[in-house]
Symmetry: C2
Subunit: 715 residues, 2 copies
Amino acid sequence: MNEAHPPRPSDTGSDAIRRVFEPKSIAFVGASQSQAKIGGRRWKSLIEGGFAGRLYAINPGATSVLGHKAYKSIASLPEAPDLAIVSIAAELVPGVVEECAALGVGAVMIITGGFGEASAEGQRIERDMTSRLIASGARLVGPNCAALFSGPARVNVGGWPMKSGPIALVSQSGNIAIDFARYAEQTGCGFSRSITIGNAADLGVADLIAYFLEDPHTQVALCYVEGFRPGEGRRLVDIVRGQRRHKPVVLLKPGRSDAGRRAALSHTGALAGEDAVVDAALREAGIIRVDTVEAAWHVARALALQPSCASSQIAVLTDGGGHATLASDALGSAGLTLANFSPETQQALAALLPERCPRNNPIDFAGEAEGNPDVIPASLAIALADDAVGAAVIVGHFGGYHLIGGASLGPLEDAAADRIAQVASKAAKPVLLHSVHGDRSLAALARLEAGGVPVFRRIEMPATVLQGMHAAFRASTLPVKPRPAATQAPAAEHSRRFLSEAETRTLLAAEGLPIPQWRVVTSAASCNAAVQHFAVPCALKMAPPQAIHKSELGGVLLNVVGDEAERGFAKLAARMRQFDLDPAVLVTPMAKGEVECVIGAFRDPQFGPVVMVGLGGTRVELLGDVAFRLAPLEREDVPALVAETGLGRLFAGYRNAPALNLEAFGDLLCAVGQLMARREDIVELDINPVLVSASAAAVVDARVAVASASELRRP
Amino acid sequence: MNEAHPPRPSDTGSDAIRRVFEPKSIAFVGASQSQAKIGGRRWKSLIEGGFAGRLYAINPGATSVLGHKAYKSIASLPEAPDLAIVSIAAELVPGVVEECAALGVGAVMIITGGFGEASAEGQRIERDMTSRLIASGARLVGPNCAALFSGPARVNVGGWPMKSGPIALVSQSGNIAIDFARYAEQTGCGFSRSITIGNAADLGVADLIAYFLEDPHTQVALCYVEGFRPGEGRRLVDIVRGQRRHKPVVLLKPGRSDAGRRAALSHTGALAGEDAVVDAALREAGIIRVDTVEAAWHVARALALQPSCASSQIAVLTDGGGHATLASDALGSAGLTLANFSPETQQALAALLPERCPRNNPIDFAGEAEGNPDVIPASLAIALADDAVGAAVIVGHFGGYHLIGGASLGPLEDAAADRIAQVASKAAKPVLLHSVHGDRSLAALARLEAGGVPVFRRIEMPATVLQGMHAAFRASTLPVKPRPAATQAPAAEHSRRFLSEAETRTLLAAEGLPIPQWRVVTSAASCNAAVQHFAVPCALKMAPPQAIHKSELGGVLLNVVGDEAERGFAKLAARMRQFDLDPAVLVTPMAKGEVECVIGAFRDPQFGPVVMVGLGGTRVELLGDVAFRLAPLEREDVPALVAETGLGRLFAGYRNAPALNLEAFGDLLCAVGQLMARREDIVELDINPVLVSASAAAVVDARVAVASASELRRP
């Protein structure tokens, strides 16, 4: 991914992507007999995949390749193929691209690397090739990508076996695609589509997810992405928010740690951005973010194959207290809770289970199931019938009871497995099973999997999967609505210029924000007059735009009354003269309020304008108790946003304090969001503090950085 | 685990535990022919384990059991066995215990359940049995426990196969012991000892870990514990801190998600919940706390079998950028860093690898290894030779290159695996490998494991393992020193009584804490006189002990000068009369300082006296930015403790503020720790705020709760 990109068509390239996944004809440039070459292995994979359309091998040195007639060049083909796949030496690629553009090929996938990821010269060549293809009406996948699979079209350009299934994968990394393919193999589940996009010079993650959301062969979109192109994150959020029906999107994005962000930067040049912004943006879209390949796969698979998890209250059934505790802890850490069983549920369990077994949640079989496995499906049926219960997790060593208790238990376990699957299916709620034998080929566990009950070796995984499933359920209940448009251009860092406080106040007041009155004075006498005019205690602040960190310069005097005004002016003026500044002082009435909040806003390279709220004052950064949301935000989003920080409890009335005016604070916040969305020249905005009381929210200090107009860019 | 326990001997029971793990003779009460019974399966397991000492089957209804002569009762045995194992109906157990005590059996393990965990009556019986055994000089394991294994003595009372090895396990849960046994089986590593302690009526986690630390057959102690008995956590910390040689202790303790939500002993303790105290205490002892069974096992195994990880800087070798990014992110999240290679290392890598491969960390083979696997050990040797590097992680799809690139690669992978193991062994630094084929039986991966290089399927695990290994290394560098003694008795919740502020000040001043002057006045005139006396602005506070939340009652007036004193007294007096309190006002000079800190202290039921520090003021709980340490703490511990919170940056001089007086703050903190350690009647202590400046740390407000003497208990 490069800093500067060629102009890109505004559509998501769905026609081109259709020709990638549903081609009528494919040309393979670099098709080879030799299995030592990538071009040989990929061509073989393509043939063996069983593609039913027209296949063209391009190899100027051969007459046929693995039984297919070889053509000298793209130019010599009898038709313009839907898709050209290119795996030849890097220096030959631009020529082939030119031929593709000239012939009118639909889409080009360049496996060859050595372009944008390798050198400045490579970046230039990559840009030129992309521009040429787009100008011809074609689109590009790659370069530097690894594999392509389309189950319905029987296209497999990977080199490893792939099974068809409900999951569509787009990955920035070839090796992560292999990792997912291995999980698919382990779990017996497959892909509708799988594509690696390498440098993503043209088609990117957002384009492909947009396609998957409309693709009838895809149930769940799965994505590995290290970073978005400028504005691409915002585009993805808008696409997923606005989808007509709710198809889950599961996304694995590293960058939680500094080390991960640096590695992503060196791998794909991806600016991983502030991770909290990524989190906030993805959550807003209802995209399920996960942290590991394993979790991504299991969540995607469960979303494709399981009923939905409509409640966060989970039933746990366990062979013993240790696993009950670990399972409860894992569920709690995943933001889920143990369901409170109804009296009816508890009575039914009491009638079923021996007296020594706790009948509340977790249901502890205390050894009973190990001799009589059928109590598991019987208890499960009771638990799932409880309206409060959203899903059930069975934990312990089911499937291996017979290994300790004797072979005669084997058939009883097998029968119980079948019944568990039946009960789960009938209840239409997710049921997941953990067993310490989950890694083994044991009959009862195989029957569970065959019956649609996923089996896990690690007790944390059911909780992780249910966390993702419940988040997906909640996302499916979000109103389907497009977001208001926003200017997305991130302004370059070096172009910023800070406005003076007076300019800032003028700007914000013009935008309708409630800014207290102020005057800028340049003499002690006029300072005195201003304080007299306001007739309340005032704040005196250095006014020159250079005085950005006023407080730290000793450039602010508070609670100035009466004849203190002249002395105050003199004091600030002396300090300003030390810095060679012409003395100017901003006079404004002291604001009243109980709690200092901060409202910030900035332009994220990936997600465009973002607002931030938190506990304000001089220690914002130290406390780090802030929350983010894409701008503009809507009035109804304010309470949830505020509740993500300690402000939630302060606004509600912390300890014996009165509740604060959330309405007024929300007005301010939404106005800032609107401003950021409309005025793309504002790079950064910081209102700190906003002083909030039970009656009002007052701007006490504000700072705005703008970009110089010449440096604005549109995506 | 019950609330009230019988008196317990003060030693750790090492003689008794030796008779459990190294018995010369074992009696099994409840030995049965029937494999449908627990007594039958355990007895068979014991015989098949190959125990070489004298075995006695106790079964009044048989003449022999599985080829061993059966005795009618313990009383009828020809000798007092070292160990009696009891697996019979619960109602028969007390009689057997009586016989054991009478005969002088060394240790008794009661597998039977239905005692303390089941009912109040069961708790009483359990206490009586425990007392009887202890009085006879014997010790008790259980009741309600599951299994016992001792590799050197060939004792296996589990019912599942166990392999000997370097790891000793004590588990509160039988099923978690099975879970660990499965990981042992999967990884081909075994146990020196394994014991489940069930209700732990007598011997507990601390006793067993103390034994493991002295046990020559044990390399690493592994523990699953859900909670400690009163004071037991502290005892464990003291045992591990004071061990003569550094043997790692790996501990799995759930309860992360309960942090802060459980009923707390005190307001201060509720801030971060007990889990933060557990974390702090275990870290202080150098105990490696882990969060999953999987992590516990792999960390323990690596600590037993791998060289130590002396640096937190890790080298990553990868097949591609995606896994490089995920591995870097996992390492970063685990508190480790990517090593900065020296110029020599980079040059050597440049000479070895093709130009397209990045030579810095992560080393990205970019497809090269997939055709020429030997570059992996060659690069590994270079990376490990770099002094900065503490360990290496290899990630990608090694072992399965031949599945994509052709069978001819198989022998090359096998040879590379052998060389990787050789290089790792020679460098004496840990090397761990992730492969997407890690779950498969592939020749190269088996060779790695055989050569001592652990193989993982999930890329997060090497980071988790190295995190534990590096923590263990750091713990091994801690000075071996016993901690100063502390009274450990937690006072019962209902027994607390808050001192008035004047009483609190008197107490703290008597203990040598720097408390500002104060006077308590009961009339407006004497209030005026007090303010005149101090001759600086004063604070006026309600003085009656009932006014605990003074600020919230409007019971504090600040910056009172001159004739404001009389009015102030009148105002507070009126308010006190509303609450039927006799008016009394504490007058004290206003303290000066820049930063409000909090110093808290309380008695944790598991760990005894604990001190807490954090950013103070009224929002301590809201911010939750606090850190804990067992009391008393030492002067040298203060900087690290403070640095665990935002205070670290404030003390260093935040933004343009001056550095604060850490010396004075540390004096105060240590004095509080000493006080808590010495005065067991102090249940809770809260100094909030401590106002800290560059020159001093001043106590502004303090609160102490004491226990009534009659309710004090000693452990």
